[in-house]
Every structure is written in structure tokens, then in C-alpha cells.
Symmetry: C2
Subunit: 231 residues, 2 copies
């Protein structure tokens, strides 16, 4: 087993697909399938086979021509590349509707992202327990981040409080933020931000519905072959 790390830069688009491959490969492993072709993986992931091969080639993880890829090895490689060889504790800011749902979700910890803490400004919320974690005051944020070595923060506050939450996270030492609030966060360049915005997703869908409606001189019965769809 080669311990080489080619360490080439992996394109963002590829990074975004690796988690999907990883999940599928895990499912295949559970089914005791230990070899898979790019064609099959592409089908399961809903993408083009050439794309799969090119994506995997960035890992330096070689498949075997004429045979395919070894599932277990691929899982190992992708996990390493995504930094999933150890846990990444996260801290959630905001114990409202969303914060509660996230903390109670449970899928966090199982997937390697244990909730190191939940904080809020509202004294009424402090002390209540969400998913096994007690809600603490936001002033304790820095202490939590440092003692638990947290790198990833989740912003689950109302829009008006999100920028402040982000700034506190950054000051506490967090370097990656997952933002659920519908606002554009301003942070230092060195901090990575990803946004999950329900309203944006719905509006993109309604744009397409709208377009569809405009051209509604066309067919009524939904024709079209079946295909796989990802994000």
C-alpha cells in the first residue's frame, strides 16, 4: 500500500463530489461489494463516468485497468483526503428552532462532527439540554472553542445576530463556518464560509418553474427519460 501523498491541489468541484462518492462507497461496502467500476459509481452518484475517473485520479488512488476500484481502499483514500481520520468537534451558535434541531439531530456526532457546545445570548435558553449538550452563554464560546479544540462553527442565529456570531467565532479561533442565516457574512479571508440557505434554494426552484410556465405551449404529460439527480 503506497503511503505516498501526491498532495496535488484538488479542484473545488471535485471536493464537493467526494463526500457523495464516499457515502455511496460506504453503502457498497455494507453490501459486501469490494470492487466497483467508474461506470457503476457514476450511475449511483448521478454523474458522468469520466468525471468520476478524473475526480478519483486527483487522489492519486489508482484503480486497476480492466477491473475497477477497490472499495475499501477508495474509502480510506477519500476519508483521508477529506480529513475524516479524526473527529472535528463543532460549536453551534444559536439555540433557537434551528439550533435545537441541529443539536438534537444526532447525525452530527455519528458522522465525525460531535457537538462540542451550543451557545446562545438568551438567558432563558441557557441550561436547557439539547441532544445531550447543555446550552451555555455565548461568553463561554472562546473557552469552549479553545478547550475542545474546535475549528468549525455553525451559525444558527436569526439574521440580525449572524454577523456578530461570526465575529465571535472568528475571535475565538474558529477557521471554518457553516452559516444557516440568510445573510452574507464578512470574515477574514483566512476563514472558510459555507452557506445553507433555504430561501435561495426555493427561489432557484421557482425560477425554473416559472420558466416552465412561460413556455407552456409545450407538452403537458411529463415526458423524459429517468435519470439521476444530485445537487
Amino acid at each position: 500500500m503506497p503511503s505516498e501523498r501526491p498532495r496535488r491541489r484538488i479542484p473545488e468541484a471535485t471536493v464537493a463530489r467526494l463526500p457523495v462518492y464516499l457515502r455511496i462507497l460506504g453503502e457498497q461496502a455494507d453490501l459486501e461489494i469490494d470492487r466497483i467500476s467508474s461506470d457503476r459509481l457514476a450511475e449511483l452518484a448521478g454523474v458522468n463516468a469520466a468525471k468520476v475517473r478524473k475526480d478519483l485520479s486527483y487522489l492519486g488512488s489508482y484503480g486497476t485497468r480492466g477491473v475497477g476500484y477497490e472499495v475499501g481502499y477508495l474509502v480510506y483514500q477519500i476519508r483521508r483526503e477529506l480529513g475524516l481520520t479524526h473527529d472535528w468537534p463543532v460549536v453551534i451558535v444559536g439555540a433557537g428552532n434551528l439550533g435545537q434541531a441541529l443539536a438534537g439531530y444526532g447525525g452530527f456526532g455519528e458522522r465525525g462532527y460531535p457537538v462540542a457546545g451550543v451557545v446562545d445570548v438568551d438567558p432563558a435558553k441557557i441550561g436547557s439540554v439539547l441532544g445531550g449538550v447543555r446550552v451555555r452563554h455565548i461568553d463561554e464560546l472562546a473557552q469552549i472553542v479553545q478547550s475542545r479544540r474546535v475549528n468549525i462553527g455553525v451559525v444558527a442565529t436569526p439574521p440580525a445576530a449572524a454577523q456578530d456570531a461570526a465575529e465571535r467565532l472568528v475571535r475565538a479561533g474558529v477557521t471554518s463556518i457553516l452559516n444557516f442565516a440568510p445573510v452574507v457574512l464578512t470574515v477574514p479571508r483566512s476563514v472558510e464560509v459555507r452557506k445553507v440557505d433555504l430561501a435561495v434554494e426555493l427561489q432557484i426552484l421557482s425560477y425554473h418553474e416559472q420558466r416552465r410556465a412561460d413556455g407552456t405551449l409545450r407538452s403537458v404529460g411529463g415526458a423524459g427519460a429517468t435519470r439521476s439527480a444530485s445537487a
Copy 2:
């Protein structure tokens, strides 16, 4: 006021940014600001000014050289392009943790996406009320979709049930799906799917953290100028 609709095809990347512009413009309108330059809008949206101008040019909505854009008119144009001139009722499949959070969220209806119904397979959940909507059995899905003219479905089921949920939605006549389950849905080409996947987002963040850690011969104190970050 020109009633022309240039109706050019708008690039996907632009479509994904229009909702962000729209939200910002709405905030500006609330502040009684009725004119805005591409520079200012770019700053607030965390993007390049040229990109803003190019994006807006697809709308055919013209700004005024030397002055900027009229906020109200821009809002009107973007809303129309995104199909926000009328409500888009949505139906939620799955009344578990996530489905409950979504239905109870409230932000749906306010933003033009009223919850026309919530359905589940579990008899124990049926009848309970979420966000003013009673949970009904999944067999009533088609009836809800047709009577309420629903085009958009939300999949909030466990992974194993997601494909079935999607198929039922499609059969009922839904043409756009917002998928929260971590699976790749297979649907007819004519159906638009968007995915929101927490695990994927976290894994992308940890990839970057991982990379950061690899190169950790570099600075420790987080340097770097402040900038805006979007999705």
C-alpha cells in the same frame, strides 16, 4: 416602464445569485434607500461589481449610467424573473425531526412558499399539527398536490425512504424537489432537483481544515484582510 421581456436564458450561476441580490435590495428598500450602485450592491453581496452588472444585465433591467439602479424597480424585475409574483405552495414529505422543524419554521409562508401539507407514512404522526398544518397520510399526497396546485415538494424523510418519497411526489405531479435526505434521487429529466446536505457541507469544510493543517509550517495568528463571504 418598459414591459418588454427579453427572455434570454439566464446562466445558472446568475440565477443562484439573484436571490441574494433580492434580499439585500429588500433590506435597502426598508432603509428607504431607493438608488444603489453596482459597486455598493457588490460589496453587500460579497461579489465582484462587474459580476453584479453582468448579472443584472440579463434581466434586461437597465440601470442609469452615472447614477446606478433604482432599488424598487430592480426588486420588481428580480421578483418577476424568479417567479415570485405569486405564491408557490410546497408539500413536505416526512414529519420527523426535520419535517417538523421546516413546517414549524414559519419563514416558508412569509417568503411566498406556504406549506400546503405535510405527509408521513407513520400512523402515529398523523393528525398532529405542525405550524398550523395537520399531518396527513402519504396516500393523500396526490390529492393535496392536485387540489392545492403544488409544484414544489420537499423530501425530509430518512435516507431509506427518500427515493420512494420522490417517486410519489413525481407521480402526484410535482416538478421540482428540494431534497434534504443524503441520497441521490433518481427522477425523470423533466423534474428539477436541488439538494441540501449537511454532511457534505461539513466534509467540504473539514477538507479545507485538513489542508490547512497539512501546511501548518505557516503563520499561526490568522492574518488576512476582511472580506465578504457568500455560498
